[in-house]
Symmetry: D2
Subunit: 140 residues, 4 copies
Amino acid sequence: MIEADEFEALVCEHVPLVGGMGIKVAEVGDGTCSILLPFRDDFLRPGGTVTGPAMFGLADVALYGAVLSRIGRVELAVTTSMTINFLRRPAPADLIAEARLLKLGRRLAYGEVLIRSSGVDEPVAHATGTYSIPPVASGN
Amino acid sequence: MIEADEFEALVCEHVPLVGGMGIKVAEVGDGTCSILLPFRDDFLRPGGTVTGPAMFGLADVALYGAVLSRIGRVELAVTTSMTINFLRRPAPADLIAEARLLKLGRRLAYGEVLIRSSGVDEPVAHATGTYSIPPVASGN
Amino acid sequence: MIEADEFEALVCEHVPLVGGMGIKVAEVGDGTCSILLPFRDDFLRPGGTVTGPAMFGLADVALYGAVLSRIGRVELAVTTSMTINFLRRPAPADLIAEARLLKLGRRLAYGEVLIRSSGVDEPVAHATGTYSIPPVASGN
Amino acid sequence: MIEADEFEALVCEHVPLVGGMGIKVAEVGDGTCSILLPFRDDFLRPGGTVTGPAMFGLADVALYGAVLSRIGRVELAVTTSMTINFLRRPAPADLIAEARLLKLGRRLAYGEVLIRSSGVDEPVAHATGTYSIPPVASGN
């Protein structure tokens, strides 16, 4: 319903706070979305690890991509809640987020996002979240 | 244990992703912290409201401030989990976050953050989160 | 919109798993609800503390009461998500939950619940959660 | 590190509130645990669906089993937080929970639980949670 290039452009133009972090949309699948966040020095926090808000922004747009992969370019879909657990302190390296939907209803979509450091198998963070889908988009 | 000015400088220097959003630390109390986020155009998302990751970053550092208000400048205290609920779509206006601790243990601190739009009483977001306190800081 | 007695009867009859734990609805206010859970031996878990699921059930119905305090006896309002943080291990004693709404929309209500051991000021658990309100009830 | 039979007996004896719901531990794997909750009339809530606290109790012990599958019979491992999202209203039928760890550290374990109705592929609930592991158990 939406291509990786189009979704990346959408985020860069219309969600500039996250687009400006330099995300690269690797793939938009069927209820899935993978996004790369190339490392930048300004993502660091004390301890020399990547700061939580960088990971939250990455998780949030990855889930947005997973939602739009199913419903098309419904820009007004918005996050209603998100829980993120930081599992390991990420080294100063690129991060990769993989989102997948667990439910797509008429009004709400729910999914999870796993974030890994590039080349490392164990996740550094795990998020779950809900998007609200506007009535027009869902045909109600 | 830490002054508002010192905490603001700490965030600006050492958490530049959030510091660079332009936060102003209004007050650091006893287990509390209030932070203002002056509105900027790049916080917008489709629909003309402030994007979730801006609110998450604000909530995260507000809780950081509430933790350091009790344990002093322990920069290595890190978020281990956070849940954020977006309650209303914030108008393009300044945001104010008020964090307060509900528990401070030797190893973990837990608190909540209420985010309002400037001049509006009803909250736009509510977050709860846990910080991990390094053993050295807590004297263990 | 609903009295404490009526709400307690509703839970005991129609949510028997939680009603059967022996809850006592202390007060239903305006967007608030307080419930007492008298201690029972079968709430214990290893370590001699009250088990998490007892506190979750208590928090869930306390929030249900806070929702119904505003919209009346809409039994079909249902929890869509809840996050609970266990802050201290509760002694084998009565628990008191105090719920309050932070938002009541047409379709969703959001609130928080603080659980304390009887006579102790510091909370043992804190929960936040969302209830979905059926369209008929909200007049849409 | 622990067998399904032994874990089921542990829950029934030492977490009687959940054991008394009639859980059947189907399998304890390597960082995984599957538990069946045979339907009972007292799990119902208004609307004729299974009540949230029944699912929470099921998720909580399933994650407990996944933790003990890796560290052995450390009864004092306790839940520190859990987030549960209710995705579909479960029919009055048996429920199956499948838990798996995403991280096992010295002091904290984190995992997720998917709950399905028997014979239905789409999940009815998804939970994530953290267990705290006592120092003795982890050898620190």
